[in-house]
């Protein structure tokens, strides 16, 4: 069962989707550096046609928190 948010992170971070979960975060994922963080924001905005505020971007400090933020913005995940 694939998850579109996990898949997006997997592509941008270049990490197999199996290794990612909602607990994945910059602390436990070497690839999630500040450059990748920018690419993630760009990819999320692109893919889900949303605009993220700096507050929202700062809240997204794990895949789970990104999911929560996007769901609050009524993104279908």
């Amino acid at each position: 069962m694939s998850d579109i948010l996990i898949d997006l992170f997997a592509v941008v971070l270049d990490v197999p989707a199996e290794k990612l979960s909602d607990a994945s975060a910059p602390d436990n994922l070497r690839q999630w550096d500040s450059l990748a963080a920018m690419h993630l924001v760009a990819a999320i905005e692109d893919r889900f046609k949303v605009h993220l505020s700096t507050k929202e971007i700062m809240k997204m400090s794990s895949i789970g928190l990104a999911r929560k933020t996007l769901l609050e913005k009524n993104v279908q995940l």
Partner: protein
């Protein structure tokens, strides 16, 4: 299309790098790496290696490239912005200029110690609230600072051998600063630019590098019907062709101008057209709105054979490979055939949206030349001379200014080459138009052939350029009286006494028609107030009862001496 970032990440870096590039910037340049890398991969490089120096270490990178990039790279980019380099100095222009000159000295040091390609940025207009371009003081505050820095920087760089420029300011203009700058990224990551702008920067950097290795195209081959002009000459005839100052003819003219620009850059031009030779050359040589002349075109292929054959012959005649041809045509069928049979020819389809035609070749790297010519290099110096010349002009009197313009006016009886343009003027001009009488083209043609009438055209040029057919008049002979039925001019040629010259020519034409007096009327409309006093100012007397202005043919104000006149009417 694959995302360049993905393309760059997936490529296998095996063996030795075939190009090594060092990046040093006033900010981290990592976001441009994938776009630069992907561009190079697309241009035939197998294993580009891109090394970033620590950010904001431009001087150090210049003085010790080995320390910054490891073994000497093939090319070094030095990319900087004013607001990163001199954040606390921007209100002190003198200090900024001194610091910029210091940076240029570092580049000169690098040049002495490094034999590869050096590319420096032209600093973009600062993305700072205090530099907001819409603030009313900007032209003299932030704008002045940026202009001054840009000019000083470019001048210093031009003095250093073999330094190329990545024009970040130009890229910023192209993208628009609202699109390029992303305030969220700036505050969260100290990264000023949107992903799309980084992509543009990376691509442009790659374009500069690949211009040195990928051979540029040598010849632009143009179809004629619906590419050089609107319509089909063999079917529509010259009167039916769209080419002139109004849309859609103006789009074709602009495209021809761009082709001429490429020719001046050293690109050969050729024409491949399926047409009868006679029709084609009647149009090409005879239409007065044509920009391209025969001498501009290195090879013509005008016949009914295939475009593939034409392209082969053009390459042969010019002694170049078919792989250095770029072919523009509006027909999908022709393009498909060339793509099929001569895949090495670069084909560009003329766009359906004609407004996009003039720019269809810009932004492509087909004609990128690595070597900037001496003429280009001298242009900056010429600009400085020209600026001084312009300063002279401010001290020149109005009369001296007009005298040095080198105005030339030609007045003639219109024939079928001009009818379409004259009809356009008659049916569209509002402001400089004495009577605003509209007429269908057919009627104008009939009048032009009638010996009792004259349909006159007026063309004007000066040393800065050719304005084209910008005036028209319709005269009617009534015995010894010549009636000015219609008199109009395009507003863009006002202020050169063109109206005086033109009216004087009408009087001359009247004389040649055997008339003794000239009569005209001013019929007011909401738009033509500017010509209310025209006859009064040119020696005509007003009769209130008949509402007619009259002057003897010799009483009409003479043409000013500063305009050279050719009157065949």
């Amino acid at each position: 299309m694959t995302d360049p970032r993905l393309l760059w990440r997936k490529h296998k870096a095996e063996g030795a790098a075939d190009i090594t590039i060092g990046l040093a910037g006033s900010m981290t340049l990592d976001p441009m790496v994938p776009y630069l890398g992907a561009h190079l991969l697309g241009r035939g490089f197998k294993n580009p290696k891109i090394v970033s120096a620590e950010f904001n270490q431009l001087h150090q990178a210049c003085r010790d490239p080995k320390g910054a990039f490891g073994d000497a790279p093939d090319a070094i980019f030095l990319i900087w912005r004013l607001e990163d380099m001199f954040p606390d100095m921007l209100d002190r222009p003198a200090d900024v200029l001194a610091a910029v000159s210091g940076l240029a000295q570092s580049v000169a040091t690098l040049r002495r110690n490094f034999s590869g390609t050096i590319i420096v940025s032209a600093p973009p207009y600062p993305s700072l609230p205090a530099f907001d371009p819409t603030a009313l003081e900007q032209p003299v505050t932030g704008g002045a600072l940026h202009r001054g820095v840009l000019e000083a920087w470019m001048e210093s760089i031009a003095g250093i051998e073999r330094v190329r420029v990545l024009d970040l300011h130009g890229l910023l203009l192209k993208a628009g600063s609202d699109t390029a700058f992303d305030a969220r990224k700036w505050f969260l990551y100290r990264q000023p630019w949107s992903e799309s702008f980084w992509a543009a920067v990376g691509r442009q950097a790659g374009r500069i590098l690949s211009a040195e290795t990928v051979p540029a195209k040598k010849c632009l081959v143009l179809d004629a019907d619906n590419t050089l002009w609107g319509g089909i000459i063999g079917e529509d005839g010259m009167e039916g062709i769209d080419l002139g100052d109004d849309f859609p003819g103006s789009a074709f003219r602009a495209f021809q101008k761009y082709a001429l620009y490429l020719k001046q850059k050293g690109i050969l031009l050729a024409v491949a057209s399926k047409n009868n030779e006679a029709d084609f050359y009647e149009m090409f040589d005879g239409h007065d709105a044509m920009i391209l002349k025969r001498d501009d075109v290195a090879a013509f292929e005008v016949h009914w054979e295939s475009k593939v054959e034409s392209l082969r012959r053009i390459a042969q005649k010019l002694n170049i490979g078919t792989d250095s041809l770029v072919f523009v045509d509006d027909s999908a069928k022709e393009i498909a055939e060339v793509r099929e049979r001569l895949p090495e020819v670069t084909c560009v389809m003329a766009p359906e949206e004609l407004a996009d035609l003039p720019g269809v070749l810009t932004g492509l790297d087909l004609f990128d030349l690595a070597e900037v010519t001496d003429e280009d290099r001298n242009r900056a110096a010429m600009m400085a001379v020209e600026r001084k010349r312009e300063n002279l002009q401010e001290t020149m009197s109005e009369a001296e200014f007009k005298a040095q313009l080198g105005l030339e006016m030609s007045v003639f009886r219109t024939d079928k080459r001009h009818i379409a343009r004259v009809a356009q003027l008659i049916n569209k001009s509002n402001q400089f138009n004495l009577t605003t009488r509209r007429r269908p083209q057919g009627e104008i043609e009939t009048l032009a052939r009638d010996e009792g009438w004259r349909v006159l055209g007026m063309e004007l040029k000066d040393k800065y350029g050719d304005y084209g057919l910008v005036g028209a008049a319709v005269l009617e002979k009534r015995g010894r009286v010549c009636v000015i039925d219609t008199l109009l001019m395009s507003c863009r040629v006002l202020g050169r006494d063109a109206e005086t010259s033109f009216i004087a020519q009408l009087a001359e034409a009247a004389k040649r028609m055997g008339c003794e007096t000239v009569q005209g009327r001013y019929i007011p409309t909401p738009k033509n107030g500017m010509v209310k006093g025209l006859y009064a100012a040119h020696g005509f007397a007003y009769d209130e009862r008949s509402d007619v202005w009259t002057a003897g043919v010799d009483a009409v104000t003479k043409a000013p001496a500063h305009t050279r006149i050719r009157n065949t009417a």
